[in-house]
Symmetry: C2
Subunit: 201 residues, 2 copies
DNA sequence: GTGTACATGTAATCCGTTACATGATTCC
DNA sequence: GGAATCATGTAACGGATTACATGTACAC
């Protein structure tokens, strides 16, 4: 029995979220190359989920094709560049819809915050180091916020992208929250630095 | 040349963040078992970073010992349970301090939000599914917030835990922000559901 | 005496990254 | 002519998980 027959009977195949993300990327605009998908992921997917390495995108596309969820064809000799363009199959669109409309638990968000991990061990560092670390995080977050807003503006112009827009709006607010959180932490640290040495002496 | 001699010359060894997290866990209370560390991670580290699988904690502890950053001894025959207890070595404490006080970039936070990934493909789902998904996320986040607050209260009673407390306070605020974000997204979705079918018809 | 918590570890597997290798096309 | 971009892929490796296997101690 082929993979394809299997999931036609048993519902959407059990693929990692990354595979669905790549399939989703493919669902917005057809006939893309892996390279294009990577840029697309960098420009928007990464703000609320993640942008896989280019090598993994290629691997994921091959897997999708093996499952019959996508097809590819190489460009004919008349076209300029040699490239393999992938398109969703009908089966792929159906599987993606089944996945998207399922009520099964998407799972909790995964957040690894290396900055907070460092601050957790703040007693081993100087207040200046900690402050500089948070400051840099603020700067980085501001930069990223600007990028999110760029993506948001681009998405606003396309009426079909209402849901990606919701995701990006969420991401914009999340970045604003991240900034507020960092500022509050800065205040906490200042309070600690003011009180700490006195009690230690 | 041993590993130990190597990093005494060259600064803190290049270990993954997880290794430092485990070492950090060890730095708060000495002579813990892997099992205890796992519970400790579940109860607090996971709220702002991550709780490794128990098998990985054991592996990480062995690596730390191999590098001379921790030592272990098994309980003598008079003690109740057979267990291997790990302690930070002086070298381990020094390496951890060097890591914690370094100015090198901790790296950006990694956030993978499977819920937002699903909503990103919302055009493939019914408004009811989407709403239910967000609703469940809200419930889960509220539960987790309660757990964070529990950890916070426990940490408040220990004066030495000022910095873990900062991390947990950050985490509490983050959960509150996550709730607000989800509510706003719910409103966005309601707006879309109200407008969408009309334009589609 | 039975279930739960304590306690440790191995094996198989997968996910994902970085480094490497290659080559065409386009822009300046 | 040279740099940047487009484009694809392999190989080596590491990080991390799940499943499995095993056994003790304690509470009810």
């Amino acid at each position: 029995m082929t993979n394809r027959q299997k999931w036609e009977e048993a519902g959407p195949p059990d693929l990692p979220a990354t595979a669905w993300a790549v399939l989703g990327l493919l669902s917005f605009r057809g006939a893309r190359t892996g390279y294009e998908l990577k840029k697309w992921a960098d420009a928007s997917l990464r703000f609320f989920y993640w942008s896989p390495a280019i090598s993994q995108i290629y691997a994921e596309l091959r897997r999708l094709e093996r499952w019959g969820l996508a097809t590819s064809r190489t460009s004919g000799p008349q076209e300029p560049r040699a490239a393999r363009r992938y398109t969703l199959t009908d089966a792929g669109r159906a599987a993606l819809a089944a996945w998207a409309d399922g009520v099964d638990d998407p799972g909790p968000p995964v957040l690894k915050h290396p900055l907070v991990l460092r601050l957790w061990l703040g007693h081993l560092a100087t207040p200046e180091t900690l402050r500089a670390l948070v400051e840099r995080h603020l700067a980085r977050t501001r930069d990223e916020l600007a990028e999110v807003r760029g993506a948001l503006r681009r998405a606003e112009r396309v009426p079909q992208w209402a849901f990606p827009l919701v995701a990006l709006a969420w991401s914009e607010r999340r970045h604003l929250a991240e900034l507020a959180l960092a500022e509050e932490m800065l205040a906490d640290l200042a309070r600690l630095a003011a009180a700490g040495p006195a009690t230690g002496a």
